[in-house]
């Protein structure tokens, strides 16, 4: 599975635990495509907008906005997605008011297996189908999925809805969406993780579930926050520390070194667990950015690193 081939699809889902750099990758990907001249839509799913600070633009809400020469963004919202969907289906704002004015009917709609999530992914799919002349309006759509548990749920919702309801317009559309997400020509799911135990366990779990349930084609795996190996091989640190008096500066220095060594060893151990997953998904690694650095500045650096990594593959 070749990296460039994976990138050459319309839909890119970015999944991972909260806090691992998922949004950063989504933005880096969108930025990369936009700079290549693709017409890109970058989507957040009912998130506390984290993209606008990376692009230094106005906060991004449910209304689509243009944030760059070839880049549009939106933060899909369940309620307005649901409203839009109902109006679209009923073809009448009047009928919509009747339906949603009735509290029980409204709660029924809210209760349908994740109808609001379905309408959000439906909205994305709608934009994927949109044409401008003969071409797709958006040649690339990058979706920043909800953090892991919900991410999988989000990928599954179309399939699940179809299986639950089976007939009617919602079921029919759900099936179309599910088929689109599954299509290896159209879509890819990228996973972001950290070189730490729980994120790696969850990533392996996520990838396996996606594969077993045939939800979508797997894309690449990004390990973020990788420590540089400065101390590998230096196993004698504890011995060195013993030479110094407990409260002395030298003792403290060696404590810091030992903590670093432990962190690097743990990282190595965790990266080894990716052995199996690496066979399914090409691997990318991003370095740990210094703490306290502005998000926008880290974003710029990581964008550069990503472009180099992609170019590297070209050769």
């Amino acid at each position: 599975m070749n990296f460039l081939e994976i990138l050459d699809r319309q839909m890119h889902f970015v999944c991972g635990k909260g806090g691992v750099g998922k949004s950063t990758l989504a933005c880096v990907l969108a930025d990369y495509f936009a700079k290549k001249g693709e017409r890109v839509l970058l989507v957040q799913i009912n998130a506390t907008d984290s993209h606008s600070q990376l692009f230094k633009c106005q906060p991004i809400g449910p209304q689509m906005v243009q944030i760059g020469p070839s880049l549009w963004a939106l933060n899909a919202e369940p309620q307005s997605s649901l409203d839009e969907y109902v109006i679209l289906k009923l073809r009448s704002k009047q009928l919509y008011k009747v339906l949603l004015g009735n509290s029980l009917a409204r709660s029924f709609l809210e209760f349908l297996p994740s109808l609001s999530e379905l309408t959000m992914i439906g909205k994305i799919w709608y934009h994927a189908k949109e044409k401008e002349g003969n071409e797709a309006k958006f040649s690339r759509i990058v979706v920043d999925c909800p953090a892991t548990g919900h991410g999988l749920h989000f990928l599954k919702v179309a399939q699940k809805t179809y299986e639950t309801i089976k007939i009617g317009p919602i079921a029919h559309e759900a099936l179309e969406i599910a088929d689109y997400i599954k299509n290896p020509q159209k879509s890819a799911v990228h996973i972001v993780t950290l070189p730490e135990e729980l994120p790696i366990s969850e990533s392996i779990d996520l990838a396996q579930k996606i594969k077993e349930e045939k939800l979508a084609p797997l894309g690449f795996l990004l390990v973020n926050g990788v420590l540089e190996n400065s101390l590998s091989g230096h196993k004698n640190l504890a011995l060195v520390q013993k030479k110094y008096a407990p409260e002395s500066p030298e003792h403290e220095i060696s404590t810091v070194l030992m903590q670093r060594f432990n962190a690097e060893s743990e990282q190595e151990k965790q990266l080894l667990r990716l052995k199996f997953l690496k066979k399914l998904m090409p691997l990318l690694q991003w370095p740990l950015m210094p703490k306290g650095e502005l998000a926008h500045s880290s974003f710029k650096q990581l964008s550069r690193i990503f472009s180099e990594q992609v170019r590297g593959e070209k050769e």
Binding site: V98, N236, S248
Partner: protein, 381 residues
């Protein structure tokens, strides 16, 4: 030489060691005074490990303690020396201490079984496909049932202290809002339309539940999902209606429990921007809603070095370890400075709540080592 496959890993005795001269600190106060302690915070901050440490410390103080975990990594179970089940099990390594794991689906099923008045009702609910959604997928369902389980455990057992670990919700406020969401769903004014049993004429005219625009609305709903689906939904609401009063009563009871003088929340976060921000928001919310917050515990904090490090010191160490020591120390310093800023900001924003900053521990690769180290640190708090 005999060697246990899983040797006891906790090396601390039941005596509390080296109490600081000022007397017991905030942590001890919390453990002495509160019966129910709920640990909240996002996933990945070390919440489960902290919950276990709090439980062990409470037990060391002489309290008969139960630790209820939601999502423990297997190695945590190893560190505790047992395999966790769904009922309280005594820990071999700490007197007075028990632990168990909460399975969400079973907790829901148990609640339904407990509250159903007939076997028929119970089965009707458990087998309904909407029930699956309610118990698994609906927002707030995990948090709701964790609270309910806490209440049940408090009723059925005689523990002095119960520590509840919570699901790693991405939005910590889900925990507080969960009962409202679930109840909001159940609490429909139109419920009284279901007073009519299924097979009466009035029952058959259940379309009436939708009010005067009923036929139109029924028709509209069917356009979305088909006739059968709407009818099944009506059936589910009818069945739920019977369970509704006991669920409401129970929910009110555990909400009261969480607000009582016996309960307190511990907010766990990590030394990362997003986590700190969330902890602060959560502290405000809990305070606004008049819940007691015993502590904020910030994990994995890089602390400043105690000594002044000079070139001479670095050179001394360099003689034995040929690495770029300056670079590593510099990174450490940047991290420590950053973390200090975060902690200070958090302390300022949450002035009414005591804050404990747990340093990055040495034994990070080894769960039972971590637990021991954590206990040693917390004992002095």
């Amino acid at each position: 030489m005999s060697f246990n496959k899983r040797p006891p890993t906790l090396t601390l005795s039941s005596n509390l060691l080296k109490i600081s001269p000022e007397g017991r600190g905030n942590l001890h106060k919390l453990l002495n005074q509160k019966r129910f302690i709920v640990c909240v915070g996002s996933g990945g901050v070390g919440k489960t490990t902290i919950s276990c440490a709090l439980g062990l410390l409470a037990a060391q103080l002489g309290k008969k303690t139960l630790i209820v975990t939601i999502d423990p990594a297997k190695r945590l179970a190893d560190a505790l020396g047992i395999s966790l089940g769904e009922t309280p099990k005594a820990l071999p390594t700490q007197a007075n201490c028990f632990a168990m794991m909460l399975d969400m689906q079973h907790a829901w099923d148990n609640m339904v079984m407990r509250l159903s008045t007939t076997a028929e009702m119970r089965d009707e609910v458990l087998q309904n496909r909407f029930y699956k959604y309610l118990s698994q997928d609906m927002a707030g369902s995990q948090e709701f049932v964790a609270c309910e389980a806490l209440y049940t455990l408090a009723q059925e057992h005689d523990f002095d202290t119960i520590i509840l670990d919570t699901p790693p919700t991405s939005n910590a406020l889900d925990f507080l809002d969960a009962p409202k969401k679930i109840l909001g769903f159940l609490d429909q004014q139109a419920f009284h339309y279901f007073l009519q049993p299924k097979n009466t004429i009035m029952g058959k005219l259940s379309m009436g539940f939708l009010g005067s625009a009923s036929a139109l609305i029924h028709n509209l709903l069917e356009r979305f999902t088909g006739k059968t689906f709407v009818e099944e939904f009506i059936d589910f609401m009818r069945v739920l209606r019977e369970l509704y009063p006991p669920i409401i009563a129970r929910t009110k009871a555990f909400q009261q429990l969480l607000k009582s003088a016996e309960s307190s929340f511990v907010i766990v976060c990590a030394a990362k921007e997003a986590s700190i921000k969330e902890a602060s928001i959560f502290q405000k919310e809990l305070t606004t809603r008049e819940y007691d917050i015993g502590l904020i515990i910030c994990n994995k904090v890089t602390k400043n070095l105690q000594n002044n490090i000079g070139q001479e010191n670095i050179d001394n160490v360099r003689k034995s370890i040929a690495v770029d020591i300056e670079k590593i120390l510099k990174e450490h310093e940047v991290n420590a400075r950053h973390d200090k800023k975060l902690i200070n900001a958090l302390q300022k924003q949450c002035a009414q709540t005591p804050l404990i900053a747990v340093p990055k521990l040495m034994a990070d690769s080894n769960e039972n080592g971590t637990l021991n180290e954590l206990l040693r640190f917390l004992q002095n708090q």
